[in-house]
Symmetry: C2
Subunit: 332 residues, 2 copies
């Protein structure tokens, strides 16, 4: 069993503040994945039971509660956000050919690619059904935008595979799309459903984008510097998949001619081995790529905190600030 | 080049009546698949350029025009319906491992499974963006229901692969889900967006369901009785994929002990060959399975026509009636 990391405390504290709604959301999610076709609840339960941090629905609930929402629509939205996220995870695992997620075998390994694709589509449909039930076209707008942007980011990442010459701006675009887009919409719908003015909703959107970007940057750093036990996946997954992330982009930018040659050789190969990873890690260390990636994540984290400055002080606001810090210091 | 079949005339006549809107829809679809990420328009254009019959958007436009719709929202809905359909085709081709669609190589063969999965997700997101723009929550409701039901039907079909004991009711459920659900919503949104009363919308929904079911039954019959040239795919695709469709269900129901043994042997195999198809076709012919499948399709076709009885006579209504007949006599 995985140890509970100290780094998880800020999430636990925030969840404590929204506990009742968090439990309702969890129930609603589980309620959505029922179907007479057994494969659907079986496979959905598998990926949902892996748990994860449930960061996105926590953000929706917390933002709505911070703004004193007066109905229960934020529960449906939080569940929709998590279902949308789960659908993308199912498809991602097929695309990345991942064997493990959070320390457990992935669905497409336990069942097959076909089931993961189709159950992902089913969860996407269920997510939109939930959004429709809230009656908020504005929420549907931001979340359907997010759905398209996430997929666009994933395609961009796919075509950039093994491309050591990827521009930093394209890399940032990928993580803004594949990760930050849903964070920002998850936060924004919390404001929209609380009938908040557009200025507030814009700040929430921006907060989510900055938090999501900082979150993904740390994820990308952890892939080279974390420990497998904590991550629940293997170190170097991105490396073996040929995903060129910021630690590599920085090391490649700073590389001399010999180092550039090495990087090109490594990513021209179809398959990379452990020896390649050791070489890569040495170059990453030499050019302080991890530190620089974390620095950039901190910058986004600072911006996220600034986005919260227009809100009155409250326990939930404090919880959101702590969440930004958590995303920066976490080890998984 | 494929000959234009005489059976296509009813579609051509109907399109002639809604030509302006049909062209606008086509433009809007092409407009939606633009992206800075080249792979997205490349792959989308490939599958969209294969054309197909565009039956679903034709239904949306025709139903809206028959009910004298007063704005242009039906164009966005027709485009959304076709994008939703295209997304499911991309995922289906991966799931079915199909090499050809409409006589051309499929996208996942020309590119890869990963691209087809992710571009499918992108088109799904774009479909929902278009629906949101119409501002109709009721349209979003029926189409998000359809999205979930289609995926559920595809999973049911997947788990029923090679199951010669599938119940007829389960088979009907599969085709109602994977095909008829989108036909019914495509028709219903034409009514909803024209501010028609719920009685009208229910009739349109029922018309679409009956037409879609009859359409799929004929598709399933054509897989054993059509010609490859007309179909643009191979005869026996369902058979080789292990999809148990009505022609087989009927032949299995009527089979004596020896024949049952043969059927079981055939579908216990992981791979079936041409000799197996010849044996299957002989049993299908012996028990008049194709004729009986067409009979059932005709029954659904008759019900579809009855659903239209509440509408005033008009050229478009006549066009829809002819479309039902087309779906029954077509050779592709």
């Amino acid at each position: 069993m995985k140890k509970i990391s100290k780094a998880d405390l800020p999430i636990k504290e925030l969840v404590e503040l929204i506990k009742e709604d968090f439990i309702k959301t969890d129930k609603l999610i589980k309620n959505q994945i029922t179907s007479e076709v057994d494969r659907i609840p079986e496979l959905s339960n598998h990926i949902i039971s892996l748990g994860g941090k449930r960061l996105r629905p926590i953000l929706t609930i917390a933002c709505a509660k911070m703004l004193n929402t007066e109905n229960n629509h934020h529960i449906a939205l939080a569940a929709a956000v998590e279902l949308l996220h789960t659908a993308t995870l199912l498809h991602d695992d097929v695309v990345d050919e991942s064997y493990f997620r959070r320390g457990k075998e992935t669905s497409h390994i336990l069942w097959d690619n076909k089931s993961s694709i189709l159950v992902g589509d089913y969860l996407l449909g269920k997510a939109f059904q939930l959004m429709v039930k809230t009656g908020s076209l504005q929420c549907l707008e931001t979340l359907s935008n997010a759905a398209a942007i996430i997929a666009e980011g994933e395609v961009l990442q796919l075509v950039a595979t093994n491309n050591i010459n990827i521009k930093k701006s394209d890399y940032i675009k990928i993580i803004e799309s594949k990760t930050a887009a849903l964070f920002s919409s998850a936060c924004e719908v919390g404001g929209i459903i609380s009938n908040s003015p557009s200025e507030i909703n814009k700040s929430l959107f921006s907060f989510g984008r900055n938090l999501g970007t900082s979150f993904q940057l740390i994820d990308d750093a952890l892939d080279y510097s974390g420990s497998s036990d904590n991550l629940g996946k293997n170190i170097g997954d991105d490396f073996y998949d040929g995903k060129i992330t910021l630690p590599i982009i920085i090391a490649f930018e700073k590389a001399d001619e010999n180092e550039k040659y090495i990087w090109k050789e490594i990513f021209q190969k179809k398959v990379r081995n452990e020896k390649d990873l050791i070489i890569a890690n040495n170059l990453i260390e030499k050019h302080k790529s991890i530190e620089k990636t974390i620095d950039l994540a901190n910058k986004y984290g600072d911006d996220a905190k600034k986005d919260l400055s227009i809100f009155n002080e409250s326990p939930i606001k404090k919880g959101l600030v702590n969440l930004v810090d958590f995303s920066l210091i976490r080890d998984h």
